[in-house]
Symmetry: C2
Subunit: 292 residues, 2 copies
């Protein structure tokens, strides 16, 4: 893997609007596995150094996405266990295999998380979600033959809701498709809201697609439970500051270039802890601590 190829791969992850945080973290690990196997270096010490540098570069491409940071830094920390005296070819294999093991662990965590969500929700439920989350999709797959009904949002500007509606249609799940602005009208009709997350802060506040905070407010106002479903790789440590909320190109809103008008396209918003009814991870359901 040449520096040019690596830079191209970084750019692809930075510009990606189609995949969620976990999926991009696994792609980044796959890139690093490839780099471990093919980087032009002379010895193991240099391999570890270069891989550590590339890890930092990849981990900081998408600040709103915790798994990128969590999975990649876990891998980097694992590199330290590769003995500098090891044969280079073997060290390459060991580093790549560690990345692949983390990819598998991430996949398993998402699957377990969706299973926990499906168990919590149960049969014959009407569930609302916002935007597109792979974990929520997997939970829907597990419930598709258990009389699940879904209400899904468009999710402007790129309308990931279309992809979700298409998937649910293919599974014959009765689905209602609405604009983001109609969330407040329809939330009263559901048994629960289930969303994914790009990151969860140490206090439980949730970074997810813009509009999630509005949906959480409406759910609370209508007495509907608001569940956040994501694997623990998405949780940030208490020492990690709140990340910048990523902003994408204004051109995605596809409006004219009016003078004096600034078009904003912030992709994520922050739903405060107090609006979350429960957090679902691969190990189970975490309910809020009782009021003191």
């Amino acid at each position: 893997m040449s520096p040019t190829q690596f830079n191209l791969a970084v750019k692809e992850i930075r510009d990606d609007r189609q995949h969620g945080a976990s999926e991009l973290a696994r792609r980044a690990l796959a890139i690093l596995a490839e780099a471990a196997r093919t980087l032009p270096v002379a010895d193991v010490r240099r391999l570890r150094e270069r891989l550590a540098e590339l890890t930092v570069e990849l981990a900081t491409t998408r600040p709103s996405m915790a798994p990128l940071r969590n999975l990649l830094y876990r891998w980097r920390d694992g590199l330290a266990a590769i003995d500098a005296g090891m044969e280079l070819a073997l060290a390459r294999v060991a580093a790549a295999e560690q990345a692949e093991a983390l990819i598998a662990a991430s996949r398993q965590a998402v699957a377990d998380c969706a299973a926990q969500a499906a168990e919590l929700l149960g049969s014959r439920r009407t569930v609302m979600t916002h935007s597109f989350s792979s974990t929520v999709v997997e939970a829907c797959r597990l419930l598709k033959d258990r009389e699940l009904r879904m209400i899904v949002t468009e999710a402007r500007p790129l309308e990931e809701g279309r992809k979700l509606a298409e998937r649910l249609a293919a599974w014959s799940v009765p689905t209602t498709y609405i604009t983001d602005a109609q969330m407040g009208l329809f939330v009263a009709q559901v048994d629960a809201v289930l969303i994914g997350a790009d990151s969860v802060l140490a206090d439980g506040a949730v970074i997810n697609k813009a509009g999630s905070y509005l949906l959480a407010l409406a759910a609370r106002d209508r007495g509907v439970p608001f569940y956040v479903c994501c694997e623990s790789f998405k949780w940030r440590g208490a020492d990690e500051p709140m990340p910048d909320l990523e902003e994408m190109a204004a051109s995605e809103l596809d409006v004219p270039d009016w003078p004096m008008v600034t078009v904003r396209n912030v992709y994520f918003d922050l739903t405060p802890t107090r609006l979350v009814s429960a957090w679902i991870t691969e190990t189970g359901v975490r309910w809020p601590a009782a009021e003191p």
Copy 2:
């Protein structure tokens, strides 16, 4: 005016997505003035009867829009004062002039209402709105040289926010344009939210473009005042039931015809009284009653 011409005019009002409730009510009055002048009838009694029938037909075309009902029924009630013994030509003129007087009163009420809003807001304010309201536009015009800044929403599906952004750009008002889903992110940056209304229920609950309820929730959560600005013709009586919230064609969302997926396009939502900081009408500002 032939029945065919009248039916065409009714259909235009029913299908109109470009104009607000007050403007459509004035158009309906103009249609009735024309009908008063030209309906083929033999005497004054028959003229009054036919006009009363046409009034009911027009008044019920847009159930979410209170002014249509309020202005038209006020006009119909005025017809009773036209003496059956009056010469037909004079009766026609009297009925048409009453409609034109109500049109003028409606225009004046909107202008006065906007003036009240501008006075309440004052200079150097950043104000957020949702969708397009003629009254809010007029308030912006009054404040455009007083360091007003605006944050406006796209307002899916037809994106009336574009028309508003264009208008504000022409007035050189610094404006931020966002998707509806970003309302929760940006409301914390403003001094106040100002929206129009299609109707206000007797208890003060507000029927306005879908998404207004979400914005009201976010404003309350962030401690930002949420003002509703509309003339008293938009208020419903205590005896009037909550109207159906109008739903428009699903095709406006422009998505494929997926099996099992129902596309919903409800245009209006209901913001409960408890989320409104104050109602601005042509006569002044009405604050909520103090808690008992």
